[in-house]
């Protein structure tokens, strides 16, 4: 056990990457470990401490919400923890791999094989169909076109959009688009799905559908979700809520 920011967090143990997703209850071992991570933006006297020595551990199969006011560092934390951004100091370990020390190329490959992402603005490619969007991570990972298409269709099946596979994003509703992004995040059988304001652009009913889908995936398939959100209703559906203020974790609520 160690103390960080006044909180007692479990010390992560190195975890080998699971060969395939398996239903796992929270507490099956830490999959994400941040140790005294700092992130400083700017230079020449205008330095902004976006993360001020954050330590955090997320267990395999856990569904964690990160909440706080705008500018508190939620998205920065997600970016640094997922390897989308470099840390200024500290270490980030995902499934036992210290990703802060990896080259850009190795980190990109690591993300392609181990993580999925869901964004508020969907970020689907408008010129590709839903199924082509979903199979994209597989295609760039060298999976054969046939297998990629099968797995993409399976992923769309999991989010209930198998029948909409050939439609372009513009032909889908907001909720459907977000489901496609979730399918895209699942298609490479990741252990962790990072979601940045996944319901931010949705009405409350659709938002509820999306979070229910995430819950189901978490419970049925043991996927680890780290969700950055403003929405208290989303937070309430997670196992744990981490509250941030000024780049630091100030409070943690374990709900389940």
């Amino acid at each position: 056990m160690s103390r960080t920011n006044g909180l007692t967090l479990p010390v992560p143990a190195p975890v080998a990457r699971a060969a395939a997703p398996a239903a796992a209850a929270p507490g099956a071992g830490s999959i994400i470990t941040l140790d005294r991570v700092t992130k400083v933006y700017g230079a020449n006297g205008t330095r902004v401490h976006a993360l001020a020595g954050v330590s955090l551990s997320v267990e395999r199969g856990e569904m964690v919400a990160i909440m706080g006011q705008s500018g508190c560092g939620k998205t920065t934390l997600l970016n640094c923890a997922s390897g989308l951004d470099d840390v200024t100091s500290g270490s980030v370990s995902i499934a036992g791999q210290d990703i802060a020390t990896l080259s850009d190329k190795a980190r990109t490959t690591f993300r392609a094989h181990n993580m999925g992402f869901v964004f508020q603005t969907y970020n689907l490619l408008p010129v590709l169909s839903a199924v082509e969007n979903v199979e994209l991570p597989l295609v760039v990972s060298g999976v054969s076109p046939k297998e990629a298409r099968q797995r993409a269709q399976a992923a769309l099946e999991r989010v209930g959009l198998r029948a909409q596979g050939e439609k372009r994003p513009a032909q889908l509703s907001g909720g459907q688009r977000q489901r496609v992004t979730i399918a895209r995040s699942l298609v490479n059988n990741p252990e962790i799905v990072w979601a940045d304001e996944p319901t931010g652009a949705l009405d409350s009913r659709t938002a509820d559908d999306i979070i229910t889908l995430m819950e189901t995936l978490n419970e049925d398939q043991g996927l680890t979700f780290v969700i950055v959100t403003h929405d208290a209703a989303v937070g309430a559906r997670c196992h744990r809520i981490i509250h941030m203020v000024d780049g630091a974790i100030v409070h943690e609520e374990r709900l389940r």
């Binding site: 998205t75 920065t76 970016n79 640094c80 997922s82 989308l84 951004d85 850009d104 190329k105 990109t108 490959t109 993300r111 392609a112 094989h113 999925g116 992402f117 964004f119 508020q120 603005t121 970020n123 490619l125 408008p126 010129v127 590709l128 082509e132 199979e135 994209l136 991570p137 295609v139 760039v140 990972s141 060298g142 054969s144 076109p145 046939k146 990629a148 298409r149 895209r184 490479n188 940045d196």
Partner: protein, 1099 residues
């Protein structure tokens, strides 16, 4: 450069400067009237360094092109003028009784045939009469005769040197000759047996001062010691501009020359007049002084030359202000170059205007939020327009300065680099020059074009939906509805109809609130109809074809407004437009009647074909994404196999159609190449699956913004189109006029100088591979020709005599022959044995580059190498003999007129027409194994001292080709400048794409795209746009060129085997592609380096 399109350049400059003043005044008014918007505009300029560089570069291109056009004209004008002063020296006026001397032709004014002498007694008589003339200083008599010469020291010989007799006293009074080493060479200081040698002759003989040169003339020899080397000029016996083929001169006093030539003692054959002043200051007085001399010679002194000079009475004495004429001609050539470059540059300028438009659309898109905010806090649309105009003018003022510098540099590179590099010695006279007027015009025109484009672009981009702009949401395109009628505007519009567009605007738009489509489309239809009617009435193609193109575009605009789906609508419009402009040869005439047209049709056809192809591409290229199959198993190869099959089929079709000359086979090969490329891409997408999404995106993304992509494709296409048409036309003309067939079965031409009959070549011929020979007389310069069916006056054209060997042993190829004869051999035999039958060189029917003689036979229709025999009335000016001859064959050889031009009679007919023929030229045909250049060299070295000059026909063609090739390359290089515009446009789009798609780049990187894959994706996008532009340009250009070259109206009867210069086109496409990729490499690389987390951030 003194005028352009008939307008004095000073007037053009004043107008453009005034327009520039309007642009500046507009900005000043904005600065004073709305300081906030002005400050906003100024502060936007330094915001993004790289972008500002790109914008300024893009805006500088119009100025670059106009400046390059004007400076090239300046350089040509200056170089020819300078060479004119060098050539003529103190001679300002030419008094001639042997016809006008063509100093500026490639053959110069030397060897124009038998020249009559007059007595030098005319000189003092003229001097006495003009003793008190305010301008005339002295008269300079000359004697120019070709002789052979050998330098005893270097043992170098030349068959042709102009032995030039000069009146020493008069010449020295006029300033003498100019020594190459500096200083004056006075004829009076020459001792007996001494001569000056001109620079050109010294080079041929490798002679220097002190050498002894032996002259061979009239069967005797005479040694001269070289007293000095003098500059090439008329007075030193060099009778042509620097590029001409005239020989050098050997200058001696008149009496000495006469002695060498065995003359009686008072003959001269040329007379010039020197005016008071130096070589340059006398130009202005030339014309008036020439008039005074001419008035005297046709009035009071009418009999002077006949009486004092001993000239036969039928000879006409003419007076030409030769220096003023040549200087005016230099200006004319300069103007022609500028005009031609400007017309060709219209393609580049059209592309440049599109680029400027795109740049402002890009700037506006980037500042959308700011513009929305400005509108939200109360700025009117007019304020945004003002801001953009102020910014645009500032950019264009800076860009204009850069464009002027780059334009001058481009002109320098073309005239001083490319021309001498490709054309060699021919262009040695080129000296770079630029005038302030040209620079001011180039700058002002560029800035004004940019200003006008910026105003239109600003009006377009200032339309913003405030909420969408602030929130960075896509603009919803809603159909514009008719607004409520405002009668006040209608009332105001009626008097405003004085300026019709303004009045109509007030009434239709402001008053009745009509939507744009209902203003633009009916106006377009009405304008199109008026143009069609005007074109038909005047028989002019330009307005007719423009009207035919505007109408479908206008109708489509209206149909689109009323909800017709855009893809089928614009596709059909594009196809209709393309079908009209690429109608097979002759079809347009059959459908719409005959029209006259000129080079402006090249520009209009280019623009319309590009519009047509671009419409079809931007609305349909998305279908190409279907080639990149996502299916499994063997079926995934189906699309590439299908496309490959089409390519193979097209290739086979090309092979089957073959080289039929109608070009369809070549076009099938082109189609096979393009489709084959698509098949390879489709196969690559299957073989390397990771590429498939990138390829799909590369096509789909650009097409998601059709306007922007269409503009870029059009920019590329229009330039590549013009380059393709130019390349194909030139390659085909060169092949027809300068290729192997152009020899016309001739291998060597041996010519004796004008005073020596041709010696018998039989001795040399033996064992030298000669298969056939024929002899002909040289042009006398005093024969005239006219078609008996025309009412035209007779015009100068050589009438030559040929021996029997010419028609039998030599067997020259015929390009066409008269109906009624079965074979060319029959024709040749008929001319040899018949009476009053003739052959003609092919310039007579307009099939030649040669412009030595103005006359051509207009009434002859050559169809499939056959024509109805036509009769000519030929006149011997010296004897007054007039004959009617029937032309039954056209010679194939497309040599310069100096070598082949003429109407060929058999020797009996010629004897009756012009006296016993003197065969001074021999044409030789060699056995296949013989090397023409070696045989020519053998003949020349054996007979050089007897004045025989022998040249290989292949070499003559090659030399003639080098000059045209150099000019052509210069034109191509100039048009290639336009590619810079297209490439810059692609760069603009690439930079913009990266800005627009940052979030997507972040997402792609997040889900596993490596940096290299991101770079590749963006490069593929740029490649797609560039490839579409390049391929559509090549396709459109190839089809149009094929239609032109297979149209008799265009080739004027010449038979041209249509061929595509594949290597040149592939090289052009590859270079364009390479530079495009180079240009987009930076933004593509930048895209891959976008920090992922930063890219994914959203507000």
């Amino acid at each position: 450069m003194n005028e352009l399109f008939g307008i004095p350049t000073v007037t053009i400059m004043a107008t453009l400067v005034a327009l520039l003043g309007v642009a500046l005044a507009t900005v000043a008014a904005i600065g004073v009237g709305n300081r906030t918007m002005f400050r906003m505009a100024m502060r936007n300029i330094p915001r993004r360094g790289l972008q500002t560089v790109l914008v300024v570069s893009g805006l500088s291109l119009a100025t670059l092109i106009t400046t390059a056009s004007f400076v090239t004209g300046d350089t040509i004008d200056h170089s020819l003028t300078r060479d004119t002063y060098r050539l003529l020296g103190r001679s300002d006026i030419d008094i001639t009784w042997n016809g006008e001397r063509e100093f500026s032709s490639d053959g110069g004014a030397y060897g124009d045939g038998a020249r009559a002498f007059v007595s030098d007694a005319v000189v003092p008589a003229l001097e006495a009469h003009f003793a008190g003339d305010r301008d005339i200083e002295t008269f300079l008599p000359f004697l120019n005769r070709p002789v052979a010469a050998t330098n005893q020291r270097s043992q170098r010989s030349t068959p042709d040197v102009a032995l030039t007799g000069v009146d020493a006293a008069r010449m020295d009074r006029a300033g003498g000759l100019r020594l190459l080493s500096g200083g004056t060479a006075l004829l009076g200081s020459l001792r007996p047996g001494e001569a000056y040698l001109s620079e050109r002759a010294a080079r041929d003989l490798r002679a220097e001062a002190g050498d002894t040169v032996t002259v061979f003339a009239s069967g005797t020899t005479r040694d001269f010691r070289v007293a000095g080397i003098v500059e090439d000029e008329l007075a030193s016996g060099v009778l042509g501009l620097r590029y001409s083929r005239v020989p050098g001169g050997l200058v001696v006093p008149l009496d000495e020359a006469r002695a060498v030539l065995g003359l009686k003692g008072n003959e001269i054959d040329a007379l010039t007049v020197s005016l008071r002043g130096d070589a340059r200051s006398t130009v202005g007085a030339g014309e008036a002084a020439a008039d005074r001399i001419e008035r005297y010679l046709t009035g009071e002194g009418a009999g002077l030359f006949a009486q004092a000079g001993g000239l036969e009475s039928d000879r006409t004495v003419e007076v030409f202000p030769v220096k003023a004429d040549l200087v005016a001609q230099a200006e004319l050539y300069g103007n022609m170059f500028t005009t031609l470059f400007l017309v060709l540059g219209l393609f580049s300028m059209a592309a440049g205007v599109m680029l400027i438009f795109m740049i402002f659309v890009m700037l506006a898109a980037e500042r959308k939020a700011e513009m929305g905010m400005a509108r939200a806090v109360g700025a009117h649309r007019g304020h945004l327009v003002q801001s953009f105009i102020a910014e645009g003018v500032m950019y264009s003022l800076l860009a204009g300065a850069i464009g002027v510098a780059l334009g001058a540099a481009s002109a320098f590179g073309m005239t001083r680099g490319l021309l001498p590099l490709v054309g060699g010695e021919y262009f040695a006279l080129i000296e770079f020059s630029m005038t302030p007027v040209s620079l001011v015009i180039g700058y002002s025109l560029g800035v004004v074009i940019t200003f006008i484009t910026v105003v239109f672009a600003s009006l377009k981009v200032s339309h913003v939906n405030i909420v969408a702009a602030i929130r960075q949401l896509p603009e919803e395109s809603r159909r514009e509805a008719r607004r409520k009628t405002r009668w006040a505007w209608v009332a105001a519009g009626v008097p405003a109809l004085v300026v019709p567009p303004l009045g109509l605007w007030f009434i239709a738009r402001k008053g009745f609130g009509l939507p744009w489509a209902w203003i633009v489309a009916p106006s377009g239809i009405a304008l199109g109809a008026v143009l069609i009617l005007a074109g038909r009435a005047g028989g002019v193609l330009f307005p007719f074809a423009l009207g035919m193109s505007i109408i479908p575009l206008s109708v489509a605009a209206l149909a689109r407004y009323h909800g017709v789906p855009s893809r089928p609508l614009w596709t059909v419009t594009g196809i209709l437009l393309g079908a009209y402009w690429l109608l097979p040869p002759g079809t347009h005439d059959r459908l719409f009647g005959e029209f006259t047209s000129d080079i402006e049709m090249f520009v209009l056809s280019g623009i319309m074909i590009v519009v047509s192809f671009t419409l079809v591409i931007v609305f349909n290229a998305r279908l190409l994404t279907r080639m990149f199959s996502s299916q499994g198993g063997l079926m995934r190869y189906a699309p590439s196999a299908a496309v490959g099959f089409v390519a193979v089929a097209a290739g086979l079709a090309g092979a089957i159609i073959g080289e039929r000359g109608d070009g369809l086979g070549q076009l099938a090969y082109l189609l096979a190449g393009v489709v084959g490329l698509a098949a390879v891409l489709a196969w690559s997408a299957v073989r390397f699956p990771a590429l498939a999404p990138a390829m799909k995106m590369a096509i789909a993304y650009p097409l998601s913004n059709r306007f922007r992509t269409g503009m870029t494709i059009a920019m590329f296409s229009i330039i590549v189109f013009s380059l393709t048409v130019f390349s194909i036309l030139l390659a085909n003309f060169d092949s027809a006029f300068l290729g192997g067939d152009a020899r016309g079965n001739l291998d060597i031409i041996a010519t004796a100088n004008a005073v020596e009959p041709i010696p018998d070549l039989a001795g040399v011929a033996d064992g030298s591979g000669i298969a056939g020979r024929g002899a002909a007389t040289l042009p006398t310069g005093a024969t005239f020709v006219r078609e008996t069916t025309s009412g035209d006056a007779p015009m100068p054209y050589p009438v030559l005599g040929a021996d029997d060997g010419f028609f039998s042993s030599l067997a020259p190829s015929l390009d066409a022959f008269a109906t009624g004869y079965g074979t060319p051999a029959e024709v040749l035999a008929a001319v040899r044995d018949g009476a009053n039958l003739a052959l003609a060189d092919n310039a007579v029917i307009g099939v030649n580059y040669s412009d030595r003689y103005e006359w051509t036979a207009e009434g002859v229709q050559v169809d499939d190498h056959r024509f109805a025999p036509f009769t000519l009335e030929v006149t011997n000016a010296a004897t007054g003999e007039v004959r009617t001859v029937t032309v039954v064959g056209i010679l194939k050889a497309t040599l310069p007129a100096d070598y082949i031009g003429g109407i060929y009679l058999n020797e009996r007919d010629y004897a009756g027409f012009a006296g016993q023929p003197v065969y001074s030229r021999v044409y030789l045909r060699l056995h296949d194994a013989a090397d023409a250049e070696t045989v020519a060299s053998d003949i020349e070295s054996a007979l050089a001292t007897r004045g025989v000059q022998a040249e290989s026909v292949t070499k003559i063609l090659r030399d003639a080709g080098a000059q045209s090739l150099a000019f052509n390359r210069m034109f191509q290089a100039f048009m290639g400048l336009g590619l810079v515009v297209g490439i810059a446009g692609l760069g603009v789009i690439a930079f913009r794409s990266v800005v627009e798609r940052r979030q997507q780049i972040g997402m792609l990187r997040a889900i596993g795209y490596q940096r290299t894959t991101v770079t590749l994706t963006f490069l593929l996008e740029s490649s797609f746009v560039a490839a579409m532009g390049i391929l559509s340009g090549i396709a459109g250009g190839a089809v149009l060129a094929r239609n032109l070259l297979t149209s008799e109206a265009f080739t004027e009867g010449a038979t041209i085997q249509f061929a595509v210069p594949w290597a040149e086109l592939v090289a052009m496409a590859a270079i364009a592609m390479l530079f495009s990729l180079g240009m987009t490499w930076l933004p593509s690389r930048g895209a891959s380096r976008v920090p992922v987390a930063e890219a994914l951030r959203y507000e």
